[in-house]
């Protein structure tokens, strides 16, 4: 039996299931209780699980993550909500210096089973600091794991898997997709492992790598390319740290061409790492240099022009053409 759900609903159901399954799971963040979060991801949870398990926190991100460290050390599994991507930086020190290093520092004696949920990416017409893509900053940090869901079904499963992980996971949610497309969720299905990438559209001419909000863009680009007789394989990376390179390398060895697409700034973004690894490991299979399509290396612009900043269908297709014509 399946239910038709949005990403917001999938995440909400995933949180609920995780809280039902394990009494040590706590949800904390700004406005996550009575309000149900500004995006309503935690809707109804405080009512059903109480204020001790769904904790409205003071407005202090470092405080949220720092106290979550203490709760994790005490044996809890805190799921922290950072209200918007651009507000994670006050917690950056706690995440990078404490959350990421605790297991290492303690030689594995102290585990840090924490999930840091961050709504990320743009396209919602917001003011500054509400549309950013900070994933590379966390993927660069040893000790953290970083994943990004792209659709309602993954949202449901991946969040539960991240919560069950004994390692800290930065969990990125494409906020533009929260209330957009619906999908059928079969709660009795067996999900793929969390830290795996997935081919979401097979193809033979070019490999298009995307995650989070750009998976939808990539799929539309592949459809458009198909009308011109070009077969584009799309991979939803899902995991950004660790990277699951096997499906990527398998694909590029077949297609000989790769384009990476993300909303984050191109300079030193995930595309740079993917490009380097593909080049190192499939050099002789490549017919063209790995190309990157992403946000420009400017700060995120005012929202009236954000669609010019974000990689859209045309810019992805342009990169596909440039790769194929190389």
């Amino acid at each position: 039996m399946s239910t038709r759900i949005t990403l917001a609903k999938g995440l909400n159901m995933g949180l609920r299931k995780a809280m039902e399954d394990d009494p040590k799971v706590l949800v904390m963040g700004e406005d996550v209780g009575k309000l149900g979060g500004v995006f309503r991801i935690t809707d109804g949870l405080q009512k059903d699980f109480g204020e001790d398990r769904v904790i409205d926190s003071p407005l202090a991100e470092s405080g949220i993550v720092g106290t979550a460290v203490g709760l994790a050390l005490r044996g809890y599994r805190p799921v922290v909500e950072i209200q918007f991507d651009g507000f994670v930086y006050p917690a950056y020190d706690q995440i990078v210096c404490q959350v990421a290093k605790m297991h290492f520092r303690s030689k594995g004696r102290s585990k840090m089973p924490m999930v840091i949920r961050i709504p990320f990416g743009g396209g919602i017409g917001a003011v500054e600091h509400h549309s950013e893509s900070p994933e590379a900053q966390f993927a660069h940090t040893p000790g953290l794991k970083v994943v990004a869901c792209s659709n309602p079904v993954d949202g449901y499963w991946m969040l539960q898997q991240a919560i069950a992980s004994d390692d800290p996971v930065v969990f990125l949610e494409p906020k533009r997709q929260y209330h957009a497309d619906k999908a059928d969720l079969d709660e009795s299905a067996t999900p793929e492992p969390l830290f795996t990438s997935r081919v979401v559209r097979p193809g033979t001419d070019l490999t298009l790598l995307a995650y989070g909000p750009t998976v939808k863009t990539a799929m539309r680009a592949a459809e458009a390319a198909a009308t011109e007789g070009r077969s584009v394989e799309v991979i939803d990376l899902r995991t950004l740290s660790p990277l699951d390179m096997d499906p990527v390398l398998d694909s590029v060895r077949r297609t000989g061409r790769a384009v990476v697409c993300h909303e984050a700034h191109v300079n030193l973004g995930m595309g740079a790492e993917l490009s380097a690894r593909i080049t190192e490991q499939c050099f002789y299979s490549l017919e063209a240099p790995v190309l990157r399509v992403g946000g420009f290396d400017t700060p995120y612009p005012a929202s009236r022009i954000e669609e010019d900043f974000l990689p859209d269908l045309d810019r992805v297709l342009d990169a596909v053409d440039r790769s194929l014509d190389f």
């Binding site: 405080g63 050390l73 004696r109």
Partner: protein, 400 residues
């Protein structure tokens, strides 16, 4: 008298001070090098036992000798470690000289089920928790980042980022609340957390956020600030315009300033604050007023920024000397006791010297195993690649 009544302070609801209120300088007077009139003291620098209306305890002879032994041995650990650094056996050492009473008083007030979040200078508290002092040296020798199990000893790993641990302490205390080990009335069960930090850390955002979270959730945590007057080269006046303990009031919980060179007073105040937390009455700020007699660390040169006359004046308030004077004057310890303790300290020093040099060297290949609870394929691959690289040299060597 309820526990909360033990922590006096100005009444925030009195409504005095129209406009911008009274002149702070008038309220607090000039810099109070003696700790000011609010300082809780039970043993004067001269070793005279005095009494305090709120914080007073009867100490057994055994307890007093125990405090003395703890402080002497802790100082010995500190002296040995400083010497080991001078001999090149440690890369650096953070000295606690002068802060023995603050740490032993706080450390001995703990119960087994309590939990400590230390800075990197809490060698005396670690001693009270039963951690082999040799384990403290690993971090400073550069062989590990701390090699004890925090859960086993109720004592977290040393935290280098200033103040970060106060939030961990608050979260841990929130966990205790959820575990139902606060305010049950069962002395064996009720628990609390103590967060150590210094005067410099009081300026950190994390510390202030910890105060806010702890107050908001009424978390069972004692914020124990050793105000040793110096944050490397910066004096307390750079961190605060008011006595630190008075900040607590602004956050909504009691603060008290105790003579941090008085082990009895520190013990009494900390014990009351911990009990208040265990009873479910929330956080307390304890400012242990003391002085960093040594350098910030062995890399520091305090002659560049402070007067030796200040150091000399604080020598007269030495925490060990005052308890020694009290023990001797009251016939609570004889010559044999002091002689035996000297021997014990010497043996401890020898053990540390030997043990430090014998600490096993870390291996880079082992470090890959500790990054994650669940190892990643890419990290395992990176490790294997480096192992193969190392082996390639060994193979070449074997051909030679």
């Amino acid at each position: 008298m309820s526990q909360s009544d033990q922590f006096p302070g100005p009444d925030p609801t009195s409504g005095e001070g129209a406009g911008f209120g009274p002149d702070l300088a008038e309220v607090f007077g000039p810099s109070q090098s003696d700790g000011g009139p609010e300082l809780v003291q039970l043993l004067t620098p001269e070793g005279e036992r005095v009494h305090h209306p709120e914080f007073d305890l009867d100490f057994s002879e055994e307890q007093l000798r125990g405090f003395y032994r703890d402080m002497v041995l802790t100082r010995r650990i500190d002296v040995e470690a400083t010497a080991l650094q001078r001999h090149g056996e440690l890369g650096i050492w953070a000295q606690l000289l002068g802060q023995e009473a603050a740490q032993i008083g706080a450390g001995r007030a703990l119960r087994r089920q309590d939990h400590v979040f230390p800075t990197y200078r809490e060698h005396g508290v670690a001693w009270c928790r039963g951690i082999d002092p040799l384990r403290l040296l690993g971090l400073f020798r550069g062989v590990d980042h701390g090699d004890w199990d925090p859960a086993e000893y109720g004592f977290g790993l040393y935290t280098i980022v200033i103040g970060a641990q106060t939030l961990h302490a608050t979260g841990y205390a929130m966990g205790m609340q959820r575990d139902g080990v606060v305010g049950t009335g069962d002395a064996e069960r009720d628990a609390a957390v103590i967060a150590h930090f210094g005067d410099g850390a009081s300026s950190q955002g994390d510390v202030n956020e910890a105060f806010i979270f702890a107050a908001s959730y009424n978390a069972p945590v004692v914020f124990f600030c050793q105000n040793n007057q110096w944050a490397i080269s910066e004096p307390i006046e750079r961190q605060s315009r008011i006595p630190l303990y008075q900040r607590a009031l602004g956050f909504g919980f009691p603060g008290v300033r105790v003579d941090g060179n008085d082990v009895l007073a520190t013990y009494a105040v900390t014990q009351a604050a911990l009990q208040r937390a265990r009873d479910g009455q929330g956080p307390t700020f304890v400012e242990a007023y003391t002085y960093r007699m040594g350098a910030h660390t062995t890399t520091d040169d305090p002659t560049r920024y402070r007067l030796s006359a200040d150091v000399e004046s604080w020598k007269l308030k030495d925490p060990i000397a005052r308890l020694e004077a009290y023990l001797k004057r009251n016939g609570l310890a004889d010559a044999a006791y002091f002689e035996e303790l000297d021997d014990e300290a010497a043996r401890l020093g020898a053990t540390l010297r030997e043990g430090c040099k014998a600490l096993p060297e870390p291996r880079i290949l082992d470090t890959f195993e500790h990054v994650y609870a669940e190892q990643t394929a890419e990290l395992a691959e990176q490790r294997a690649g480096y192992a193969a690289y190392l082996e390639s040299f060994e193979t070449e060597g074997s051909h030679a």
